[in-house]
Each structure stands twice: as C-alpha cells, then as structure tokens.
Amino acid sequence: MNAPTISSPLRTMCLGHLETLQKVDHFRMAAVCSTDGFPIATLGADPQQSRRTTAMAAALDGLSKSITQELSLGTLEGTVLECELGLVLCRQVHASNRNLVLLMVLSEQATYGQALWAIKNTAREMAASLQQLVEQNASL
C-alpha cells in the first residue's frame, strides 16, 4: 500500500522546523506525521523506521487524546514517555482544517525542561506555518 501523496510545500515546511529541533542537545530523531500515522517529514531515521515510528506516534496521540477526553482535561497538548535510555515527546500541531503530530526522540543525557520547551516552541511555530499553508492551499 502506498502512503497518500504529501505536498512538497508541506514537507518542506515541516523539514525546516525539524531542523530547528535537531539543534536540541542529545537529539536522536524527529518526525512529523498525519494524525492517522503517515510520515510527512523525518530527520534521523531511515524511511522504514520512520513509517513504523510515525504509525506508533499517531496511535500514542490518539490514545492520549482519548484519555484526556475521558478525564475531562480539555485539549491534549502533548505526551511524554520517560524511558530508561531517553525521552520521547509527542506534540499536537493544530491548524484550522489540518492537524499533525510532531515527535522528537532524545537520548538519556537530554534535559527534560529544555526538550519540553523546544518541542512546545517548535509545535507552536509549525502550527503558524501550517495555518499559512492551509490558507494558501485549501487542498493541503
């Protein structure tokens, strides 16, 4: 099965923001995907790995949203997995008619606060860029 075609401006925009995340200390990989798990842009992972990882990110995001809703906690902003050997941060990117999932993986030496600040900031800037693209091209 082939993944749906991703527009080049969308991929270029996402890659630009991922390059910002790449500057975070102890960066391992980052990816942007659709909310149903298709990779749009990836840094630090081969295509096969990124397809698996983005599918998992979408599932994590979907489950996190359901938990947030179940517990009446408003809108999901993001999910963090604290692992023995690193951090996984997942963040929602909202535009008016298009939502994306942003994922960043850092190794164990990473600073939690710095990582959280970086992904929040990037998600906010990416949302603004996404909104601009949506307004320019409704079929994005």
Binding site: G37, A55, M56, D61, G62, S66, E70
Partner: protein, 178 residues
C-alpha cells in the same frame, strides 16, 4: 472476558462495538488521509473499547483493533488475554478473500484454538452466494470456523456473533477437558 474485533479498515469494527456497547465506547479516531484505501472520514488509530454488562454481573470487554497494516504493532498488545475474536470482512472489496488469509495468519493462536468467528459484511447478496469462497479458504486450512453474512449496524447481529464465539469457546474447553 475480553473479545477482540479484528479486520481491515472500514469493515465495521467501530460500528459493531457501538452497536452493542452498554457504555459510551472509547474511540481513537483520527482524520483519514488515505482516501485511496478507504473513503471514510475518520479511522481508528489505537483502539476501540466497549462493554456488555451481563445479568450475572459479569462484563464482556470489547476491543477493536486499528485495521491498517501499519498499526499491526497494536494487534498483539490488544490481543493479550482475549478469549476470542470476531473477524469482520468487507465483501465489497476486491481483496476480501486475501484479507481473510491475512488475518488467519496474523492471529495464529486464536485460529489454533478455534476462537474465531468470521462475519462478512457490506453485501446485499445471499449467504449461499457469498460464503462458499470464504469456506473454501477455511477448508483449505482444515478449519471449520463459524462463518456468517451480517450487518453489524444491527445490535442483534453483533450479539449473535459474540454468543457464537462464547458458545464455541465453551465447546472447545469441554473438548479439551475430555
């Protein structure tokens, strides 16, 4: 008791759980960006969850898997501890017979235990026209699993599938005990 609803995207897993659940079901729906695979607006990305409350105070937990192959990593996670599964197939799809084979291969433990009921939907045709091709595939593997044509929008149809699965499990347990 835990029952899985398995099958490809758009086969009706979320609908089936909605049809019978005694609680508001838990969904993990996301926008479907893969129109080539299926035209529906949203798709399950992690799981569906519902419950049936039995008179004796027992609860049947219903778990729906995300159907796309890219979410196959969720299948064993959700399948852990399941007593059986209802496999829903979409007869309107050209690859529905291949899909049966795919799911028989993907859930070997359930197949081996005979803990599977197969329900073919999305068709107006009679059972006698629809089922032989599916039955041939099962016979080719020496399997005699319950096979139905159904519409999972109807609660009674989904209950029939679940009752069949439970009855089959009880018979298998009795046979194992002998």
């Amino acid at each position: 008791m835990k029952i899985l609803f398995i099958g490809p995207m758009g086969a009706g897993k979320t609908t089936a759980i909605h049809s019978v659940s005694d609680i508001p079901p838990v969904n993990t729906e996301a926008e479907n960006t893969d129109a080539a695979q299926h035209s529906k607006a949203t798709t399950t990305v992690a799981m569906d969850y519902g419950e049936i409350h039995l008179d004796e105070g027992d609860t049947v937990a219903l778990y729906g898997i995300p159907g796309q192959n890219r979410f196959a990593f969720m299948w064993p996670i959700l399948g852990e501890g399941a007593m059986g599964a209802v496999l829903l197939l979409d007869h309107s799809r050209a690859d529905s017979l291949e899909t049966l084979t795919t799911y028989l291969d993907a859930f070997p433990a359930l197949v081996e235990r005979g803990a599977l009921v197969i329900a073919v939907g999305h068709t107006q045709q009679k059972q006698s026209e629809v089922l032989p091709a599916y039955r041939d595939i099962l016979a080719g593997r020496s399997l005699a699993l319950p096979l139905f044509v159904t519409d999972v929008r109807e609660k009674r149809n989904v209950l029939l599938l679940i009752e069949t699965l439970i009855a089959n499990a009880e018979v298998n347990q009795l046979q194992d005990a002998l």
